[in-house]
Symmetry: C2
Subunit: 530 residues, 2 copies
């Protein structure tokens, strides 16, 4: 059965049902035209929030008790449903976000691949970190007990959809996929900028829940034009963890709410960053022109609305004049780009105006934006390293197609400059083999500043794989010990539980004698599948 | 060279040196006599705290750059030093804590074993969770990059010594051992109740740092009679994580300090708990007498000053009268026990007085304690399940040799009662094979409430091994995702760092092509040593 766009109800999904229409409504807006999109969406009320969390709580035990293979089948069903409804999903996402269709098709593929990858992790099974220390009744002075432990899900998780990834970081995105994979029911607060695609995706999950014979409370989707629903959700005692991708302001607010609860809970907020990129002298000499092109493509990709956008570019002073003018030409040749929302475009324009007071604007069309239509022009700024070090606001993220060139002299200490940075998601080094061989100290410093270091690449584009770390020290994220992309993200939603001297029949299958699931386990200190 | 007890200086250890004497002094006190113990100890001042953290920061890069094997050798050197100085350490610990010599000898062995176990983990090497996804230049639409990640240390860690474990949870205890194993320098705030043994152990570490050729800042030890040093330490921007074992009040204060920093940091506070123990009907019928003896030994062990002391005992009503009177006889036959400090004994006496207002005191000597000498008598209380559910304070921990019997009737819902509990470190089920086979729901609930579930045992005594979880949901700890005992504790002090398209020579050895260290790695989704 197909979910046609015309069927959008504007109603929150509460477990297996829909919420009754409330009093407050809002609309999606086409950022390319400024026109509102039908239908009206209804903000959830307190009772509906409680109902969603109550159903999630009731669903937790039966859902957590599923075998990993059954949970994997559920994730695969969601992926298949998304693929089946792909055309309608991408079409509505395009209307609501202004992101081009090919980008959205790619994002949909990424979203389904992500669900499938977590299914594979569950099917393989070793992710639970099963540990077994066998009993030794003969040990002196006391017998050694039999001790076994493994990861268990935390409970219902609140997920916040992000504005800039209507699919991969929203209703069925990485946070939802990893929480569901871990065995946690999910209550999503949809991002108000793309409610229609949120409903479409939410219905696909709701259908997969039903077809998998799971309790409806495994998944709910709440709409809200403002922040009230999110605040109530994070404060609700039934919620056991929070996952968020968005602004520093929003992320910090959630961190505080999570920490101030009578039972504090983990809060995983990915709050964006400015992603320093270091062009070392050899690379600048060798391929200045290619670097200018690569950088332009990266910082303007998706109208610069990526949390991995390279927003700080350190380059050697002697070549900077030529580099900047090459890059500036490219930037000047670009027209205005559609941004995600009129609000984001407006903030971008204001931020560019502020930045022009602290750095030299060297390229970019008029930043004045039509207030109705969400359009922004790429801009390029330039400062010396000394000026950069003197203005801490220059390290802050501007969400949109802009970057800051920072020229360093021969005597400038790039390592010391890196030491002065706060946390970011990524750092990039462009260099020759000789450059990188001499950059050991810089790498050591960057290891303490970011989640991912790239060599001769661009940080936009985050591979969904096992080794990916999309995280980093505060303020890039609230918790540098984690990643929100890649299979390690599942670890955010579990905690270890230990069983001492348990009879085999009362143990989880992962910990039973004889290893019936054949997973990798740490047995008496040795990793083994036997 | 031997460190004689007479050589105690009373001075904080700042890296390779000692702090100059400050203005505020305090003394250890023999809890058995109430007499103060020489010498005077000097509280650290702000400048000394900054110096210790500054040295730790300077030591971080060189220490983190050690090979895992060199770090293991350092841990083994500390263990050897502790064993060599064992007699002096145990003697002073006995004077300062009143804990009996055999207990302290056992605790010393546990402390050295723990260091050795972490050394083994480092030598084996797979703990770093190395993940590798190899490049695929042919992939469409975009080439797949080479992505590799592994755990890296967080930076300098502040460790707080605990009153009740002068060795295993203090200067060279589990928190220090796991942080040092992870590659983090450590600044310990000694517990003021046992400053002498803290200095002795601190000097052993200081000597091991020197003999291992490490920068002095890898380890510092700060004294303080009050809380000022701890507060400054946690607020210091150079500190990147906190580990604490102690009271809920102290733990919560540190959680808030850590969360309110301009750069919030992980805070691992183990805050004790009441450790519910469930006697199921079959077990009570089968071995009532043995249960009474076992429980008495467990809740009075170490004068009840264990965070794993069973303080809530649920038993079937029909046998409770006999069980309680058997247990009561045993309790009444015990004399007063020396507690850790006069302050702790005083608080115990007050708490017993308060409890007697809410529960029936059914055994125990006069709770009046000599204000000078730290002595407390074991006590036993009893309530019905209905009364327990009506008084939330009955779930709170009383630090000392007391426990609360809670009798449940046939119609009482033990699962619902368990659902009403907050987080604890452990839960214990005593049952026959038939009892446990029918306790599936109870186990499912307890999995969400505690870090460790025991069957037919007693929670006091925490095995140091790979599978141990000494943790649990708030308020038992600040972070249920972790353990403070066992080798998994090392994971508290690391975060993942990812390298994209790095040349082999710039990668950490753990991630290089060809796996030179032969560790287990997740390569393209498959765990392998090749």
């Amino acid at each position: 059965m197909s979910v046609a766009v015309s069927s959008l109800s504007g109603l929150s999904l509460i477990g297996e049902g829909v919420a009754s229409p409330g009093e407050t409504t809002f609309y999606g807006v086409n950022p390319a035209t400024g026109k509102k999109l039908e239908p009206a969406f209804y903000s959830a009320n307190e009772q509906q929030i409680s109902e969603a969390v109550g159903k999630a709580t009731a669903a937790f035990f039966p859902y957590a008790a599923l075998t990993a293979k059954d949970r994997a089948a559920f994730l695969r069903r969601i992926a298949a449903g998304l693929a089946e409804q792909g055309a309608a999903i991408v079409e509505r996402a395009n209307l609501e976000t202004g992101l081009p269709l090919p980008r959205l098709q790619g994002e949909l593929a990424r979203t389904t691949n992500q669900l499938t990858l977590f299914a594979e992790v569950l099917e393989e099974g070793s992710w639970v970190d099963a540990r077994i220390d066998e009993a030794d009744p003969e040990r002196k002075p006391l017998p050694r007990p039999d001790v076994r432990s493994m990861s268990k899900p935390l409970g219902p998780v609140a997920v916040f959809g992000a504005s800039n990834f209507p699919l991969a970081f929203s209703v069925a995105g990485g946070d939802t996929a990893s929480a569901l994979a871990a065995g946690c029911p999910v209550v999503v607060k949809a991002h108000p900028a793309h409610p229609g695609v949120s409903e479409l995706v939410g219905r696909v999950i709701q259908k997969a829940v039903k077809e998998s014979g799971l309790p409806g409370g495994v998944f709910s989707l709440l709409f809200d034009a403002g922040v009230a629903v999110g605040v109530s959700l994070v404060k609700h005692p039934g919620i056991k963890a929070v996952a968020f991708t968005g602004s520093q302001q929003g992320g910090k607010a959630l961190m505080h709410l999570a920490a101030e609860r009578s039972e504090p809970i983990p809060c995983y907020a990915e709050m964006g960053s400015t992603n320093p990129l270091f062009i070392l002298p050899g690379a600048m000499k060798e391929r200045r022109e290619a670097l200018a092109k690569g950088l332009q493509a990266s910082f303007t990709l998706g109208s610069g609305q990526f949390c991995t956008k390279p927003g700080l570019v350190f380059g050697p002073a002697e070549e900077m004049e030529t580099f900047a003018s090459q890059l500036g030409e490219g930037v000047n040749s670009m027209g205005q780009q559609t941004m995600l929302t009129p609000g984001i475009a407006g903030k971008y324009g204001e931020a560019i105006g502020e930045r022009a007071k602290e750095a030299k604007l060297i390229a970019g069309a008029d930043t004045a934006v039509d207030k109705e239509v969400a359009a922004g022009a790429a801009t390029l700024f330039r400062v010396t390293l000394k000026d950069f070090l003197g203005h801490s606001t220059l390290e802050e993220e501007i969400f949109g197609p802009t970057t800051l060139l920072i020229q360093y002299g021969e005597k400038d200490d790039l390592v010391a400059a890196a030491e002065g940075l706060h946390g970011h998601l990524t750092a990039t080094i462009h260099g020759t083999d000789e450059d990188i061989a001499g950059a050991g100290e810089l790498i050591r410093v960057l290891e303490t500043k970011v989640g991912r270091i790239l060599f001769n690449g661009y940080p936009t584009g985050v591979e969904v794989c096992h080794a990916m770390v999309h995280g980093g020290p505060f303020p890039a994220t609230s918790d540098a010990r984690t990643t929100s992309v890649g299979t390690k993200a599942i670890q955010r939603f579990v905690r270890p539980v230990c069983y001492q001297d348990f009879p085999d029949t009362s143990l989880p299958a992962e910990l039973r004698r004889g290893n019936p699931l054949g997973i990798m386990r740490l047995v008496n200190g040795t990793l083994t599948r036997s």
